[in-house]
């Protein structure tokens, strides 16, 4: 008896999208991982083609007439490699002439591959850490505020139990020292501008995003419920995240998963900063070095936020802002997305190197981003490439030039 693939992980529309693909190859020219690893399996066109072939083998006309064909291990391995070597940057959607909603399709492919046991082994570790420690690093979750330990004077808000604003720090900034400066800067800004804020410490659990994009979304319900309940208990009216992935998950995925509104507003830190600067709560001093801005995929293409970070940068007196060749919806990925580091770390590094070349072409001395993962990824790349560019989060720059 041939084991048939379960296609119910895909939506009706996604299976239609497989037939809508014209194989024009526009996506191929814009795919950041294919540019580094010329393997057709990786390309959006290649992934669609492979899935189509597999579905036809089991549900197509010949399968209906003569019975479904067994899918070989080699075919599944081939398919899996392409699907997990994707950064989920979503640039393919922007350039697709038939508007295929690619990113959710790639995630559905991962769901299928996880169900069928064809995925990188390291993802099991991720699952283990997130479901038992409630964070991606596997550290004890009560250490979530470790980044605050070396602040000269920790802001009062860090340990509050109730406040207007909950600052959701995110796993990367909580546990990876290279990015501790992001939450440190953000809490300092909030304190100095008089924002009534708090953090949740060990009550903050991973938002579930890394699992959702790994194709393990089924295991995130507990995290979602816990996080929403924890925020609701504080009575906060607003949640702010410096991490675009946490922001996206709270804002766009949680209400869908829970089937109800969250009961609090969700903002990304750049949106909050733009608002506070506009209200005059933050006064900025001059900054005279040329800067450029890297759009994080989950903030830009996935969440549609391009203007807020640019507004914040533009409000700094004397700043010289230069756009990179690929910006806004066409921005190149930093290579740190899609859990690709777990599938192929050299591929992830190669994508970052290409992005740095675009940074270099602008002549900027400071590379800004609004994502701790982009910062971590691009900082590591500048060190490898020995490039004289300072990588900063927008919050860090704001904090450094803040006069009030």
């Amino acid at each position: 008896m041939v084991k048939k693939m379960d296609l119910s992980v895909y939506s009706f529309r996604q299976l239609m999208e497989l037939d809508a693909c014209t194989r024009c190859g526009n996506c191929v020219t814009w795919c950041p991982t294919y540019a580094e690893k010329a393997n057709d399996n990786i390309t959006p066109r290649g992934k669609i083609e492979r899935l189509k072939r597999l579905t036809r083998a089991q549900y197509g006309l010949l399968a209906r007439l003569f019975g479904p064909r067994e899918i070989s291990e080699a075919e599944m391995k081939d398919f899996s490699q392409g699907v997990f070597d994707c950064t989920l940057c979503g640039r393919c959607k922007v350039v697709c002439p038939v508007n295929i909603d690619t990113r959710p399709l790639w995630i559905a492919m991962r769901d299928q591959l996880v169900d069928e046991g064809h995925y990188p082994e390291l993802l099991n570790m991720l699952k283990e850490q997130v479901t038992t420690h409630y964070n991606i690093s596997g550290d004890p979750n009560e250490n979530r505020l470790i980044w605050a330990d070396n602040l000269p004077q920790p802001p009062e808000g860090i340990h509050k139990k109730q406040a207007e604003v909950v600052y959701f720090v995110g796993c990367v900034s909580s546990f990876y020292p290279l990015t501790y400066t992001v939450p440190q800067a953000f809490v300092s800004i909030m304190e100095r501008s008089g924002v009534d804020f708090m953090t949740m410490g060990g009550e903050e659990w991973c938002c579930g995003f890394p699992m959702m994009i790994a194709g393990m979304g089924e295991n995130t319900r507990e995290l979602v419920r816990h996080n929403v309940e924890a925020v609701r208990k504080t009575g906060a009216k607003m949640l702010v995240a410096t991490c675009p992935s946490c922001y996206h998950t709270f804002r766009h995925e949680y209400p869908h998963i829970l089937g109800e509104p969250l009961g609090f507003e969700v903002l990304h830190s750049t949106e909050a900063l733009a608002e506070w600067i506009g209200e005059g709560r933050i006064q900025l001093g001059a900054f005279d070095r040329p800067v450029t801005y890297h759009d994080p995929c989950d903030l830009g293409r996935t969440s549609g936020i391009y203007d807020a970070p640019r507004a914040v940068i533009g409000s700094i007196p004397g700043v010289t802002f230069v756009e990179m060749k690929d910006n806004r919806e066409y921005a190149l990925c930093c290579g740190g997305g899609g859990d690709v580091e777990m599938a192929d770390s050299s591929l992830s590094a190669a994508v970052a190197k290409t992005r740095l070349a675009q940074v270099q072409a602008t002549g900027a001395e400071v590379l800004l981003s609004a994502c701790q993962q982009c910062k971590r990824q691009l900082t590591a790349a500048t060190r490898r490439e020995k490039m004289r560019v300072k990588v900063m989060d927008v919050t860090e720059l704001v904090e450094s030039v803040m006069v009030k």
């Binding site: 296609l7 119910s8 992980v9 895909y10 939506s11 009706f12 529309r13 996604q14 299976l15 239609m16 999208e17 037939d19 809508a20 693909c21 014209t22 194989r23 024009c24 190859g25 526009n26 191929v28 020219t29 579905t55 036809r56 549900y59 197509g60 006309l61 209906r64 350039v95 002439p97 038939v98 508007n99 295929i100 909603d101 869908h256 089937g259 549609g304």
Partner: protein, 273 residues
């Protein structure tokens, strides 16, 4: 073979081709049917067909219909993304797709006027006569001009694919087959038109059918059995159309039907977001 037998052969072949085409498209739809359906954000577990019908009707009678229509016109029919990106590519695609669709509509209307209005209902107004008579200047010109635009589009596509050869294009057997079938289809249409003149006699004014008419005049001295030659030439033309139609559900060419739908559906989702 008399005209009646020829017509019977044609209609039987047409019915078989359409039936096979519907079956093949049905298999594609049955694959989509394996996927999950969502209504009001919730996954539908039972009575999927009922839900799908509800979703479609709710969509039609809401403002989402206008969003879908906008996406359909701008992104599916006019292909604005292609226009912004590469004019030559857009020109090739638009010439082929828009003219093909226009010619299809023209044929459908002519068929409806001829079989439905004129033959069955007996309507015989000057307008109906103009539409059903392929020799009237406007009908001859429309048919011929749209055909020329299709040829132009096809030539641009061939030039791009096989001469310019953009890096991202991979010419597979599937692509080549579709292009060859399209070429046969388009290139046989003019001789069929010329042979029709030779079979039925040339109209008084023929310049509107600028290519078919001239070709007919050129072939006239051969003095063949034009009735038989026309029938077989038409069958080759029809055969290529049938082959294209039957190959379509199994090839990437199925996007002709599916892409506009996906563009419209995803256009609504984007605008709503």
């Amino acid at each position: 073979m008399d005209d009646e037998t020829r017509l019977t052969i044609f209609w039987i072949a047409f019915a078989v081709v359409m039936l096979l085409f519907i079956v093949a498209i049905g298999v594609n739809v049955s694959i989509w049917w394996q996927g999950a359906l969502y209504e009001n954000g919730r996954r539908v577990e039972k009575r999927k067909l009922g839900s799908l019908i509800r979703i479609v009707f709710k969509g039609i009678f809401s403002k989402r219909f206008w969003m879908a229509l906008k996406a359909f016109v701008l992104d599916a029919a006019l292909q604005r993304k292609l226009f912004k990106e590469d004019f030559l590519r857009w020109l090739g695609h638009a010439s082929l797709s828009i003219s093909f669709f226009a010619l299809f509509l023209l044929s459908a209307f002519t068929g409806f006027f001829e079989e439905g209005l004129h033959r069955i209902l007996g309507v015989d107004t000057p307008f109906v006569r103009t539409v059903i008579d392929k020799n009237t200047p406007i009908m001859a010109l429309l048919n011929e001009a749209l055909g020329i635009i299709i040829v132009l589009g096809l030539l641009i596509i061939i030039f791009r694919r096989y001469v310019l050869r953009p890096k991202q294009l991979s010419a597979s057997v599937m692509d080549n087959t579709v292009i060859i079938l399209l070429l046969i289809l388009v290139l046989t249409s003019y001789p069929v038109e010329s042979l029709r003149y030779l079979r039925d006699g040339f109209p008084e004014v023929g310049w509107h059918s600028f290519f078919g008419y001239q070709l007919g005049l050129l072939l006239e001295p051969l003095n063949w059995n034009w009735r038989a030659v026309h029938f077989w030439a038409f069958m080759v033309h029809f055969g290529s159309a049938a082959a294209l139609l039957l190959y379509l559900p199994f090839s990437k060419f199925v996007h002709v039907f599916i892409s506009p739908l996906v563009i419209a559906i995803n256009g609504v989702a984007e605008e709503a977001a």
